[in-house]
């Protein structure tokens, strides 16, 4: 599903962030992306989200050579990828319901079509009481669950998460990881960038470890 061959990345004339990394990720797998701060975890996630172009090397996703695709095709492919940001990136003027429904609006669905699905998903992540709340009245954990719900509402093939447990307490972190595991069981390929060794040990999924620009999968 995801194939990187000698992919390198640098921003402009800056230092090389990722250096000749190669890996394959199978459909339906679950990986933790680990490494020290500044190792390039977020940059790798942005490559996987197709919001950055590799400086060199080949990237294949969804059986397509990403390096040669035009912007419109990239945006189409991005609809198959869900992303959860560390800083949530919720739209402050939209309610919980509307934030979660956003990817479906982008796909051209109207409210009658998505209302039931969004409500059901919000129940599933335990936000049924906050359905009309704006993000500024939600706690960090609630915002994180809204961001997760938004990332999975369009049933993406790949779910990426950047430090999804960075802003929540350990108990909620574990609950969120169970949520990801549940999604993975439904067939979604999941890659989670995290620092939290406890969770990595507890859930025991394979790790993609970034260090000095390189990657080791273990």
């Amino acid at each position: 599903m995801i194939e990187f061959n000698n992919v390198s990345l640098r921003y402009g004339d800056g230092p090389i962030i990722l250096k000749d990394i190669s890996f394959n990720i199978k459909k339906g797998s679950f990986h933790f992306l680990t490494g020290p701060s500044g190792a390039g975890k977020t940059s790798l996630l942005r490559l996987l989200l197709l919001s950055l172009k590799p400086t060199s090397g080949k990237m294949r996703m969804f059986n397509e050579d990403i390096s040669n695709l035009d912007r419109d095709r990239l945006l189409q492919l991005r609809r198959h990828i869900g992303i959860v940001f560390q800083e949530f990136k919720l739209l402050d003027h939209l309610s919980t319901f509307e934030n979660v429904a956003l990817p479906l609006r982008v796909l051209g669905q109207n409210q009658d079509e998505y209302e039931e699905n969004v409500t059901e998903l919000l129940n599933w992540v335990g936000l049924e009481k906050n359905i009309h709340s704006l993000p500024n009245v939600l706690s960090g954990g609630e915002k994180q669950r809204v961001a997760i719900a938004r990332a999975v509402i369009s049933r993406p093939d790949i779910l990426l998460a950047d430090e999804p447990t960075g802003n929540v307490d350990p108990e909620l972190s574990e609950r969120l990881l169970h949520l990801f595991a549940e999604l993975n069981r439904m067939g979604t390929t999941i890659i989670i960038a995290t620092h939290e060794l406890n969770l990595i040990k507890k859930f025991n999924y394979p790790q993609m470890q970034l260090n000095d620009g390189g990657i080791i999968i273990k």
Partner: protein, 309 residues
């Protein structure tokens, strides 16, 4: 549909992805309102000038004037009667009437004041001749026959009509230029406002891109937002301009002296518009709203193209 409900949020309608009510939006709505007001005023002014110029031109082309200058030893009243008779006997002339002393005084009052007494002034008198299909030859014949009256001359108003047409054309061209400048200034303001909104909404654009929204989708969202602002501003400005014209009409009717009002009426008509003209002026509202939306769309598309991969 109740117009007041037009802009109210429909509870079942999703919230705009790009927020409509922000300080920038309110400022832009105000700016569009002012620009629409000025556009309608300019456009309305052009219509009034055009209407008046056409009316003047028609009036003038239906009338000619015989001027009888006072000459020592000549009897003015007798000469006026003779001029009337000669004119009435000419082909293509419907009527010829000498202006009385009072009518002549009324003509000069706006310039010389109410205390005017023509008997103290040695000024020419006029015979107004109404035409009914007189040809150039008829008028030449009249001109020749008038030579029997000392001090009489025929004024066909040609020079005046040419000057009037030139003046009206200059007014209309200047007004059109000002109108175009206002529209261009409005569009430039929309470009700057769109760029400002794009910069302040960068996070929204990023989120939309992260979830796979196409540039077309993002541009539509911004276009809809600016269309709403254009309609709001356009309605406020357009209705304001119509109220202004109504107020001006009432002011000229009730507060100006009758002479001033009459002169204004001669120059600009009666500040009244036909239904067609009102529709023409109010059509600027959707046009400005549409231009606002399209301008913002192009600005957004250009902005999005500059964003990297």
């Amino acid at each position: 549909m109740n117009i007041l409900n037009f802009f109210q949020k429909d509870k079942n309608k999703p919230t705009n992805i790009v927020p409509v009510n922000s300080v920038t939006s309110r400022t832009l709505v105000l700016l569009i309102a002012i620009m629409t007001f000025l556009s309608c005023l300019t456009f309305g002014g052009l219509i009034l000038v055009k209407q008046s110029a056409t009316a003047w031109s028609n009036d003038i082309s239906r009338e000619i004037t015989i001027q009888v200058r006072p000459i020592e030893g000549e009897l003015m009243d007798a000469n006026l009667r003779l001029a009337e008779s000669i004119a009435q006997a000419t082909n293509g002339i419907a009527d010829a009437q000498a202006l009385s002393i009072e009518e002549s005084e009324n003509l000069l009052k706006p310039w010389l004041g109410d205390d005017l007494n023509l008997t103290e002034l040695n000024i020419p008198r006029l015979v107004v001749v109404k035409l009914a299909g007189a040809t150039k030859d008829d008028l030449e014949k009249l001109k020749t026959e008038l030579k029997v009256i000392k001090g009489a001359s025929l004024d066909t108003h040609d020079a005046w009509r040419t000057q009037l047409n030139n003046m009206a054309t200059t007014f209309i061209m200047s007004g059109s230029f000002i109108f175009i400048l206002i529209v261009v200034a409005t569009m430039l303001a929309v470009v700057f406002a769109t760029r400002g909104t794009m910069a302040s909404s960068r996070e929204i654009v990023d989120v939309l891109h992260f979830i796979g929204a196409s540039n077309k989708f993002v541009a539509n969202e911004f276009q809809n937002r600016f269309l709403i602002m254009g309609l709001k501003g356009g309605l406020i400005g357009g209705i304001g301009a119509m109220l202004f014209f109504m107020a001006l009409g009432l002011f000229s009717k009730f507060y100006l002296t009758s002479d001033s009002s009459e002169q204004l009426g001669v120059l600009f008509g009666t500040f009244s518009f036909s239904l067609f003209n009102i529709i023409a002026i109010l059509s600027l509202i959707p046009i400005i709203a549409f231009l606002t939306a399209i301008t913002s769309r192009f600005t957004v598309r250009r902005f999005l193209k500059q964003i990297a991969w």
